[in-house]
């Protein structure tokens, strides 16, 4: 069977192994099949990683030579740039493009266990095959018990804060997805186990008094709007640029409302002039259209301080012919174009006048309106309308 050599190697692999058994102990040990496989895999993994690291270093040196850079200058950003230059890829999915990264970052991680002197795995949950997730489940269970006990003991008493006896505040956030939880615990587990964890979490969060475990719960939650960096739905606030000729600051953004697209440019130090395809504010005959156009200025209290220039691809029938442009497509109602321009203007004002970002956001002017005309359905007169039913 396997001799001490293997035990020694297992010790070398485990990160927190206790001091070794004396070298003189040469007795033959029986080692289980699972551990044997584990040790073999572990050795193989270490060897493979060594090889890949060496390969990566060699590759890096070659790349530095090819790009005529010093090896010290070639950091990860420089590598990415070089790869993009050498292997230009038209593939849309970033995962499908060629990469060159340190093997520790991209190769699958090897899950390591710690062993005691006798070569038995430490931790009672080793043989569950999912020690981390079962650990989390039992932790949730313990916390659930303690929350229930805490509530029973303190309900109606004045010794604790009343806010502690309420349910945890989870508004605006959601449980982290299975993939993120796998990454967080660095362990693979089935969807079924994930489902059980979420059910356990939901139960804990629904208990009165779970506010005391708020911190623990929020570790496993993420904000719902995390997909965008800012709290804005749609476009981000554009960058401020400076016009070389007039030396005035301006911001430019392309936006849309329904199917009307608009490129809006707002210039600082203006007089409150509008030029939408050459049309001015008074060319919009509907009062509501004018209100919409002026809304960002009313909210940010900057009436008459900025100039707005916008170009679109279509204007509504009620508007006069745009000067200096070939005839535009005549579609859209009376509010689509002003609303598109309003969104663009608000974003540009937020860039030029940062104090007004919060009022603009709360009034909903920085939100891209996601609503659209619903398509009409086959065999129906409209999107929702139905033909009148007739027997014959």
């Amino acid at each position: 069977m396997l001799r001490i050599a293997l035990t020694r190697s297992s010790r070398a692999m485990s990160s927190t192994s206790p001091p070794a058994v004396s070298e003189s102990d040469t007795s033959v040990r029986k080692i289980g099949k699972a551990l044997e496989t584990y040790l073999k895999n572990s050795q193989q993994h270490v060897a493979m990683m060594e090889k890949h690291r060496a390969d990566f270093e060699t590759g890096r040196r070659h790349l530095a030579k090819m790009m005529s850079l010093d090896i010290h200058e070639l950091d990860q950003a420089a590598i990415d740039r070089a790869i993009q230059y050498l292997f230009p890829s038209g593939l849309t999915d970033p995962k499908a493009r060629p990469v060159m990264r340190p093997p520790d970052e991209i190769l699958p991680k090897f899950q390591r266990f710690t062993f005691d002197e006798e070569g038995k795995p430490e931790g009672t949950r080793f043989f569950t095959l999912n020690p981390k997730i079962y650990g989390l489940l039992s932790e949730i269970g313990v916390k659930t018990q303690s929350v229930m006990k805490f509530y029973d003991e303190h309900v109606g008493s004045r010794s604790v804060n009343r806010s502690d006896l309420e349910t945890a505040n989870l508004s605006g956030s959601q449980w982290i997805t299975a993939d993120k939880m796998k990454k967080k615990l660095s362990e693979k587990f089935s969807n079924e186990l994930y489902g059980q964890v979420i059910i356990a979490f939901e139960h804990l969060a629904s208990l009165p008094g779970s506010a005391i475990e708020q911190k623990f719960l929020s570790e496993f939650r993420e904000p719902m709007t995390a997909s965008t960096d800012s709290k804005l739905f749609g476009l981000a606030i554009p960058n401020v640029q400076t016009c070389a000729e007039t030396n005035r600051r301006y911001a430019e953004v392309t936006t849309h409302c329904k199917d009307t697209r608009a490129v809006v440019k707002v210039t600082d130090a203006g007089k409150g002039k509008f030029s939408i395809d050459g049309l001015q504010l008074h060319d919009f005959r509907h009062l509501q259209s004018r209100e919409i156009l002026l809304a960002p200025f009313i909210i940010s209290q900057t009436l008459g301080k900025f100039d707005v220039t916008a170009t679109t691809d279509c204007i509504s029938n009620s508007l006069p012919e745009a000067p200096n442009r070939e005839p535009l497509k005549r579609t859209g109602g009376m509010s689509a174009l002003p609303r598109a321009v309003r969104h663009g203007t608000a974003l540009c004002i937020a860039a030029l006048h940062p104090e007004s970002i919060e009022p603009l956001r709360l009034s909903g002017l920085l939100t891209l309106d996601p609503r659209k005309n619903e398509r009409s359905k086959v065999n129906q007169p409209g999107a929702r309308a139905k033909w009148i039913w007739k027997r014959r």
Binding site: N191, G195, M224, Q288, E291, A295, S335, R339, R361, S363
Partner: protein, 222 residues
């Protein structure tokens, strides 16, 4: 089985909020603030708008200084075939007519009477609509194949709507092509209603009478 359970465990399925086919995901979007005064105040720390998206501002909610809840609602109620701009023109010209009439009366009046004449048409319109608010509504309830007109209590916004609707229907009945105009009749109606007179007030009282007569059906309210 496992995929089913995982799908069940997704927030969407456990969450108690109903998700409809709304472009604004109800879990992510909250209503905007359209009042300028309120926007200046700092937001509460636990307000959901601190970390969620805010819906886009509505087209007719721009906080201009002449924004008036009652007039805006009256314009919406009087709109026909989606022609809001026509309806706005009608209502605003009715207000202008009120202003002219009141000013004429004011100019003729003696000094004591001048005190009692209200010149602001917005105030008159608000008061007129307020006077027309019904206290109850009649709603058909079918029991045993017979439909009974059962009186129901109503909330403030619905009372406001029903007052406007009664007034609008009366004005539409009376306005004839080319002879009489909606705006003139609406102006007369609003002025009369602000004095607790006129056909809308009569219609309201009629409704109250019917409600009183049908009170025996009140137990059909389910």
């Amino acid at each position: 089985m496992s995929t089913k359970l995982a799908r069940f465990a997704q927030k969407r399925w456990i969450s108690s909020t109903t998700s409809t086919s709304n472009m604004y995901d109800p879990r992510l979007f909250r209503e905007p603030i359209s009042d300028v005064q309120e926007l200046r105040k700092p937001l509460d720390a636990d307000d959901e708008r601190n970390f969620l998206f805010v819906k886009a501002m509505k087209s007719d909610a721009t906080p201009v200084f002449y924004r008036d809840h009652v007039i805006d609602k009256l314009i919406r109620v009087c709109t026909k075939d989606g022609e809001k701009e026509t309806s706005r023109k009608n209502v605003l010209s009715a207000l202008e007519i009120i202003k002219r009439r009141q000013y004429k009366a004011w100019a003729k009046a003696t000094d004591e009477e001048k005190q009692s004449i209200e010149l602001d048409p917005f105030v008159i319109a608000r008061k007129g609509i307020r006077n027309c608010h019904p206290l109850m509504k009649l709603q058909g309830v079918t029991r045993g194949g017979t439909t009974y007109q059962v009186p129901f209590p109503i909330e403030e916004p619905e009372a406001e709507f029903r007052a406007m609707k009664m007034m609008r229907d009366i004005c539409r009945l009376r306005s004839k092509h080319g002879e009489t105009h909606f705006k003139d009749i609406l102006a007369t109606e609003l002025l009369a209603a602000s004095q607790n007179e006129g056909s809308t007030i009569q219609a309201k009282q009629e409704l109250h009478k019917t409600c009183e007569a049908n009170r025996a059906y009140a137990h059909y309210r389910a």
